[in-house]
Amino acid sequence: MTVEVRQHQKTPLWRNATVLKWASQVFVLFMLLFLFGALGSRATDNFAQSDISFGWDWLSNPTGVQIREGIDTLPDSGARALTVGIINTMRVAISGIFVATLIGTIIGIARLSSNWIVNKLATVYIETIRNIPLLVQIFFWSALAVGLPSLTAEDVGTYWFKTSNRGFAFSWVFPDGGFWPWLVFIAVGFFVGRWLLRRRRQHQEDTGEPGHGGWYMAASILVFAVVGWFAWPVLSFMEPVLEAIEKFVANLPQIIVPIVIALGAIAASVWWIRGFFESRRTPAGFGKLTDDDWFRVVFAGFAGIAIAVVAFVIGEFTIKTVAGEVLSVAELAIVGVSNFFGWLGAKFNATDANTVIEGIRSGGPLVFERPQVILAGGAQIPQFGSSGMVLTVPFFAIWTGVTVYTASFIAEIVRGGILAVPKGQTEASMALGLKRSQYLRQIILPQAFRIILPPLGNQYLNLAKNTSLGIAVAFADIVAVGVTIVNQTGQSLPVVLVWMAFFLTVSLSISAVVNYYNRRMQLVER
């Protein structure tokens, strides 16, 4: 019996699955770009007809926005106002992530405790907090704080800690004149400490004696911090060096900006393509590339060149600055980088920073401040002065709200992660004679962390995004500031675009960090 085999022929392009897959993706990409372009021009036309020109002038124009709290309460431009909002948002998000992780971990472990009271307290915390909407909780914290007594003329004075319906004020340590040079000392202490840590680990491996590497590292950082506290003015030579760099950068021709970006983009794509080819190399020799692989290589090369071209085009765009100058994007980049070095240089100025001013300057790297209640304004209203850390009621409400709320979810994730490590791992460790502290650190936690990490990343994203609920209690975050700008200028679409870009950047940054650790922790199987 013979089997009839259909004659082999070369597959035509329109039936090649790989070509179809990539062609459709490229097609969708171009359609999307076209769609956004069309929508964009449509919106611009509409704005033009309704007397609101879609544009970005408000970024550099004075907007008359007043902000209740932040690094600048009367910003001179839209961009400055948004910066204040961004910093307020970041303050909540970053400190919230750290504290929520800490509380969540403690509560999660407490819920696994065999101690009845600890266990039940943790359960009540989790079940209460995660089942009440976040917005309601934020209102609750706000109402709680507003219910506190108000400041009166009798309260005038200096305090360690003071609560009122205007917020919470407490003593705090702030960076002072010598802070940046001192940071350099601490950084050196950190690197020396890491070197010591490695040496101690090696010693432990060689001899079996305990290395105490962590203690050596901590001691190194402490020693450098103490020495740097007094010795930081020796770094003042950095000021002229950084100023020289500032001048050098300021005098660079503006064509250098697109050239650097273009070279960077092309280098990145070459590096990626090289890495890709390397990854296809096996001990047996160079594997055959599939059509799919070739598409990727071509795509990466094309993307590199495209970014290079776009860099030259965008570099020519002009923007009006607050001062009214018209600068190209490339010039603006040069000014920005140059100013950065100038700013950094000023941080190393020892003579100015070293001047001790009673109550304001410590003459060292840090200054300790206690809050004060003062009578301010013509009406002599009692309020918190500028020293110490003052948390306003809105900040307290949104920060406590997102932190306590997210901590309840993190607690469940931590508990689940630890429970998901099979019991056999503990038994095997015990059977080998390992102490509880040893196997928790070496065996259980590394495996639990691997399970905890991805959902933990999701909670960080939620926390960062939930800060936008701060608008409910008038917290001056990027959303609230943006709303004020929209009210003043009518530029709703550009402001929304800025919001989207900001939250996207924050979320993608968090994802990138989490994914990096996730890849490092992954188990090798098969």
């Binding site: 060689d206 079996g208 099979p422 015990m430 059977a431 040893q438 495996q447 188990l523």
Partner: protein, 254 residues
Amino acid sequence: MENEQRSTRTLGDPIVITDGVKKWFGDFQALKGVTATVREREVVVIIGPSGSGKSTYIRCINRLEAHQEGTIIVDGTELTNDIKNIEKIRSEVGMVFQQFNLFPHLTVLDNITLAPQWVRKQPKAETEEYAMELLERVGIPEQADKYPGQLSGGQQQRVAIARSLAMKPRIMLFDEPTSALDPEMIKEVLDVMKELAHGGMTMMVVTHEMGFAREVADRVMFFDYGTIVEEGTPEHFFTNPQHDRTKLFLSQIL
């Protein structure tokens, strides 16, 4: 041939002594007074239906389960609530589990060297050298840098045996070491265990492998309902069992 292998070992002093050991899980009594003595270099095979308490019994010997009545003396140390004693005994007693329980985030080599480094405080180089020696003995030195997930079940169980041996234990406990393995992998694990027995290791083995019991064991214990129903040499046990329960069990599995 089989008897010859056994006779090369001379039994030493008692090393595991259990006297009237009782253990409850809630209302359920898993052990109802187990009294037995294991001597140095002796290989004891424990068989019995599931739920008969045989696993619980050997898990009591390194205190993975705490017994509630009776005494257990291992290598001259009585097992009590004293954590120091428990840790000392655990470092002298190796255990191999049905589910291997290798540490999946560590390489084979690190699995083996972890306990000697942290418990015995030995230098890393020394532990790695001995680990390679052990991997040679269990026949998989080429797998040293792989992760447990990359190995077959039989290979994983051999690594688990090497991991226990790295602590240079005086007694090895095996809790159904071949029950989770494919038939062709059972042999490679049993071969390693036989070699261990010939080397003079004191072993307590819970298993359903009757061939292993016949060939290697000095003594067979038959557990049912939390007590030792019958014990004796394999010849006695397999050819001339005394109790009806033993006869029934053997008739069902042989």
